[in-house]
Amino acid sequence: MNSKSKSATKMARPSRRAFSAGLGAVGFAAGIAPFNIVRAQGAPLKVGVLLPRSGYQAGIGQDCQRGVDLAAGVLKDLGMPSLQIMNGDTETSVEVARSRAEKLIGEGAQVLVGAFDSGQSTAIAQVAEQKGIPYIINIAAAPPITEQGYKFVFRNFTTAGMILGGAFANQKEVFALTGAAPKTVVFMHVNDTFGTAMQKGIGAVMPKFDLPYKIVETIAYDPAARDLSVEVAKAKASGADALMMVSRLNDAILITRELIKQRWSPMAIMSMGPGWYEDQYLKTLGKMSDDPISFAPWYDPNKALSKQLEAALAKSAPGVNLNTNHVYTFEALLIAADAYKRAGTADPKTLAEAIRKTHIINNTTTGPGIMFNEKGQNDKLQISAIQNRGGKLTVLAPKAAANGKPVWPLTPYNKRA
């Protein structure tokens, strides 16, 4: 009697609470899809920029952001339509990259740009292709991304194969300029996606270039290694003339210190990856940072747009050298703005077609300009050879994009004050 009615009333109340408690209601409600209106021409293009802003790639992500920050002013000067940037943080994680891409598209992003890392870029590419939203990759070197037959994914960056081919071509130019070349080379690379892709590519690409040197030893090291003394000892013990590297920033600094401590100054340090030309390398090592030559995707200092970017960067971030992260991220936004201008609409299919027809010769990166092949890849991009000189980078090759002559051989470390 009494207990029955008590339990009856008790039953009514908890059920609703159980529903909301079990579902994380706030998140659920917030996720109901908003409308995705295609804006009329004249409105800013909504660009979702996905970069690793936290996690261990955070430094690079934040550097790429500088390219985004440059874009607003410079694009305006070029008469480009304005862009509304929507920032996304991939947190250096493939899963988060994917869900952030979904979120940005859900919030109305009409173009996606990003994401520096091949794994994260692949995840975003899948989402973009599925949703039919154009995705412009700023930096990611893994070849498979543009081999999937995607219609909405575009990459304005060199693949690992292109980097290798370009590097070898540049090396020959540099050897011609200096009149000297190493006979033996020891190749050291970080054992991660990029490093192993380069190492595998060397076997396939090098024979085509008839280079004057042989690789006598290959040393792979753990990306998490904090102490590279063993690796450098091994490299020194190989007796090679020159050191060829694929590493990242921290490793570059560690390796240079070890070279000094272990008293080995190779004839040359040729890097085919990031790190050796980056600001932090130059600042941390001071005089000890001079002379390594890097073969990397870079900008052409002789192009007008490059000079504009350099000036803009000097204002917004004095003391920071214009680098790959900045220019390629900027160009991704340039492509988006240019396509929007030509298409006249933000309709994704039209926009994608407009991007595919991109033909920008007044760009900043090295090469004939920005144009895509049928796979959405810009296969005309070239690699530059840059050398560290007094805290700045001098471009040695290709000739059209050069602004200096090489220093060869490497100034021995113990002869630097």
Partner: protein
């Protein structure tokens, strides 16, 4: 059999569970794609959490290297597909034994040599790390360059090859989570469940009444490993690229166990609730920080860590036991 499964569960609880299930079944119809992605992630962790819970909550063995089984499942199925064109459901038939074998190996080493508690946990970490570095050098799966699955289309759902719309993956993971839930319930009610309870509470005493602790602990590990590898297979075909650095990394293992610990170890619903709460929390924090205009990388993780801290300090047994009491869903005492 169904009667036995729901024995002792209050009618209220059954109604709630049924309602929840209906809601989850209907979710893809009105959820945005972004929310669907989040839900997929939640179900993924809910499923693995339950698998992990068998080893920890039921048999009392703390595994901090569960990413090993996810990775083995993922790589086995992916490699078979990439090299031989073998579909994921067939690949599963190979992936599960591979992972189970790894689990058996760890279990054998540990239990035979009386490695328990913290030492066991560290052993699991070491094996997972060993696999990570090992796969980094394994040419057959492309080492650290990453294994890319050829991506097809999204136009139609190919259930056999697991190519298609995310909603397909959603329903597969939902089915897996529900089946795992039922399976765990059945296990707990069986003889094995009671043996595990005995071993967990006091292994010495359990042995003294004749329970073969070694055997039942091994069974727990093998089941847990095998179940987890299924999630790995789904992971491979959903994300379509695998890198040893990411798949086997210790942070994955930690992600896996956060859900069950926060939700409630040893409980049936704990891992599921934990997955909802944690993933929901992460997304809410991101959204909140966005709205407040805070663009500080790392801020979200700090709040996330603080929330974890508060939960573990205030509710040491996990959220579910507390929530259960508050909602009046607790099982009736016999």
């Amino acid at each position: 059999m169904i009667a036995r499964l729901i024995e002792g569960v209050s009618r209220r609880a059954l109604v709630v569970m049924a309602a929840l299930l209906v809601l989850l079944l209907a979710a893809p119809l009105f959820a945005s794609d972004y929310l669907l992605t989040v839900l997929i992630l939640i179900l993924y962790f809910a499923y693995i959490g339950q698998a992990w819970n068998i080893m920890m909550g039921f048999a009392g063995q703390l595994s901090l290297g569960h990413a090993l089984y996810v990775g083995l499942g993922a790589y086995t199925a992916a490699a078979l597909y990439v090299h031989f064109g073998i579909g994921p459901w067939l690949g599963l038939l190979v992936a599960i034994p591979v992972a189970a074998l790894a689990g058996a190996f760890i279990g054998f080493l540990a239990f035979r040599f009386k490695v328990g508690g913290v030492y066991f946990a560290i052993l699991t970490i070491a094996v997972a790390e060993f696999a990570r570095v090992g796969f980094d050098h394994l040419a057959w799966t492309n080492g650290s360059s990453g294994l890319f699955l050829p991506v097809a289309q999204y136009a139609h759902n190919d259930l056999w090859l697991l190519r298609g719309h995310p909603a397909m993956f959603y329903y597969i993971l939902l089915a897996a989570t529900v089946l795992a839930f039922i399976f765990c319930r059945a296990l707990l009610q069986s003889r094995i469940g009671y043996f595990w309870l005995a071993i967990r509470e006091d292994e010495e005493a359990a042995r003294s009444v004749g329970i073969d602790a070694f055997r039942y602990k091994m069974i727990a590990v093998v089941i847990s490993a095998g179940m987890t590898s299924f999630a790995g297979v789904i992971y491979a075909f959903y994300y379509n690229n695998l890198f040893p650095e990411q798949v086997f990394h210790i942070s994955r293992s930690i992600e896996i166990i956060l859900g069950p610990i926060v939700g409630g170890i040893g409980t049936l619903f704990g891992p599921i609730l934990g997955a909802f709460v944690l993933t929901g929390l992460a997304e809410i924090l991101t959204g909140a920080l966005n709205t407040l205009g805070v663009d500080l990388p790392g801020a979200k993780q700090v709040f996330y860590g603080i929330c974890l801290l508060l939960v573990i300090m205030a509710l040491p047994d996990g959220i579910w036991p507390w929530l259960k009491r508050r909602l009046g869903l607790a099982e009736r005492e016999p």
